[in-house]
């Protein structure tokens, strides 16, 4: 290597190392601050267990809703032409860039007891979403669904239609073609979108605490339990729960490695 290229490498290496340190150092801090000798007892404390179980329920509920409602939406956005499609797509993706706490306030304005939809629901049935597990799932779905839709839509759009058309000429019904031709082709993308949406739902904080409130076993998911415990000085529980979420995030990343990390 020539001296000149070496100098160029050194100039790039500086900021690159700082960038890496920016990501790595907080993780090192988390590991260093972890209560390793008591981590099992911290996590099996009743409130931490409640948060773990509730987080699992809510994030899986949000994932189910995102897949059930997001797949048709992604299909329509990818394959149907209709006026205002770009606007619809922008609206659907908005929660990805919207601050979650704004999402929480928006959900309250719509589905709160005084909200236009929530008020009507409450008058009619006496049922309300804020402060319920259903509310927490709604908040997580609001934030996580776009991650599924954006991945699924890209897959539907880049689909090779010739296989579908060939199946059609052979007399296969639309439902059969979707199940046997389209679905196998997009399955990896749908799985990746599901993993992303699930991870996002699992980490949801701002919209959940704003819209659903915070109560152990009902709406206090892991991120809320982490925040509340840290505020009350129980940093042991907070860090132990943080490590659980870190592990899950790493697992999702490993699962998606072929899509994102390359194969080198």
């Amino acid at each position: 290597m020539t001296p000149r290229r070496w100098a160029g490498g050194a100039i790039l290496a500086g900021p690159a190392i700082v960038a890496l340190a920016l990501v790595v150092l907080p993780l090192v801090g988390l590991l260093q601050g972890a209560p390793w000798d008591s981590i099992i007892s911290e996590l099996t404390e009743s409130e931490a267990l409640l948060a773990l179980r509730l987080s699992l329920e809510c994030s899986l509920g949000a994932l189910a809703a995102s897949v059930a409602l997001g797949t048709p939406l992604a299909w329509v956005l990818a394959r149907r032409r209709f006026p205002g499609r770009s606007l619809v797509r922008a609206l659907v993706l908005l929660p990805m860039v919207l601050p979650p706490v704004v999402g929480g306030i928006a959900l309250l304005s719509a589905f709160g007891r005084r909200g236009f939809a929530g008020g009507w629901l409450y008058e009619l049935t006496g049922w309300r979403l804020p402060f319920t597990t259903g509310g927490a799932i709604l908040a997580e779905t609001f934030v996580a669904m776009p991650f599924f839709v954006v991945t699924a839509e890209a897959a539907f759009r880049s689909l090779d239609r010739r296989a579908d058309e060939a199946a059609a000429t052979l007399g296969a019904s639309p439902a059969y073609r979707f199940r046997r031709v389209t679905l196998p082709a997009v399955a990896p993308a749908l799985a990746a979108g599901s993993a992303l949406a699930w991870a996002r739902a699992l980490g949801e904080f701002g919209a959940t605490i704003t819209f659903a409130g915070n109560f152990p076993g009902t709406t206090q998911t892991m991120p809320l339990a982490i925040y509340l415990n840290l505020q009350s000085g129980n940093s042991g529980v907070a860090i132990a729960l943080s490590l659980v979420l870190l592990t899950v995030s790493l697992a999702v990343l490993v699962g998606l490695r072929d899509r994102w990390l390359g194969t080198t």
Binding site: M1, W6, G9, A10, A13, I17, V18, L20, A21, V24, L25, V28, G29, Q32, L108, G112, R113, R114, P130, F131, I209, A212, G213, N214, F215, P216, T218, T219, Q220, Y227, L228, L230, Q231, S232, G233, S235
Partner: protein, 265 residues
């Protein structure tokens, strides 16, 4: 390819070097801090970390706190006292800390982070309900009724702990819908109509104006609520911090606090 080992070495040095320096800065060494440099008149900036229930009182210019000197800029950080304790222990740049209870202040006193506190105000609990008191709530016992939705402040947040203490003493079992991070956020759940009632301080209900109505809690049921204020030892503006704490017990500020519903210390 000869540059690779060099880069790796640099990376390792960077990670471990910075990691080690981060690891050594414990809360206690931060608390020692640097000696206060300015001992002249109150000037510069002063960061006051105060219990959420002091928001209206400290923001009110008429209170006179910190507004005595035009050269002094006072900035406030309001939150649940427990959250502020955690922040100060982690080295947040506070000059003065005012808590809504003794317990949170004691945590910082024991940690050696603050100087000796003085109580500058007292308060009372009140039930906050929506305008017109639609559920006809008359006392704490009504909050245990199944048809009444209630939020309380989370454990560790002074107003929540006071309420649970009183409820336990009276044998009332309240099941809240949510445990809020501070008193203001609990009150907001009532003023926005999401729940029927919460328990806050009398001064918070007053500050909410027409959006909330207070239902008194009997005198015999009231807990002792004192607001201690203290100088954070690591302050870089000791003169201003001392002046602020001194002014909190001065006649003018005390009169204004009483006008807002606080009780004298």
């Amino acid at each position: 390819m000869r540059s690779h080992p060099f880069r790796c070495l640099l990376a390792v040095a960077a990670v471990f070097g910075l990691g080690a320096s981060c690891g050594s800065s414990s809360p206690s060494s931060m608390a020692a801090g640097e000696p206060a440099s300015s001992r002249g008149a109150a000037k510069g900036t002063l960061k006051v970390f105060a219990a959420a229930s002091l928001t209206a009182a400290f923001h009110d210019a008429k209170t006179g706190l910190g507004s005595t000197d035009p050269n002094l800029t006072v900035t406030y950080s309001f939150a649940g006292s427990n959250a502020l304790v955690t922040q100060v222990q982690q080295g947040a740049p506070a000059d003065v800390f005012a808590s809504a209870d003794q317990r949170n202040m004691t945590t910082l006193v024991r940690a050696g982070v603050v100087e000796a506190p003085i109580v500058f105000a007292r308060n009372r609990l009140q039930i906050a309900v929506g305008p017109g008191n639609p559920k006809g709530i008359t006392g704490l016992a009504d909050l245990a009724e199944p048809g009444v939705s209630v939020v309380l402040a989370a454990p560790g947040v002074p107003v929540g702990d006071y309420t649970r203490e009183v409820a336990a003493r009276l044998g009332i079992s309240i099941t809240p819908r949510s445990l809020e991070t501070d008193v203001r956020s609990a009150l907001t759940k009532v003023t926005t109509g999401e729940v029927d009632a919460t328990v806050v301080y009398l001064t918070d209900v007053r500050a909410a104006g027409s959006k909330a109505v207070g239902v008194d809690i009997a005198e015999v049921q009231q807990p002792a609520i004192g607001y201690p204020i203290a100088i954070v030892k690591a302050t870089r503006n000791r003169a201003a911090a001392e002046a602020f704490v001194r002014s909190a017990t001065s006649g003018a500020v005390q009169r204004s606090l009483v006008a807002q519903g606080f009780l004298p210390p």
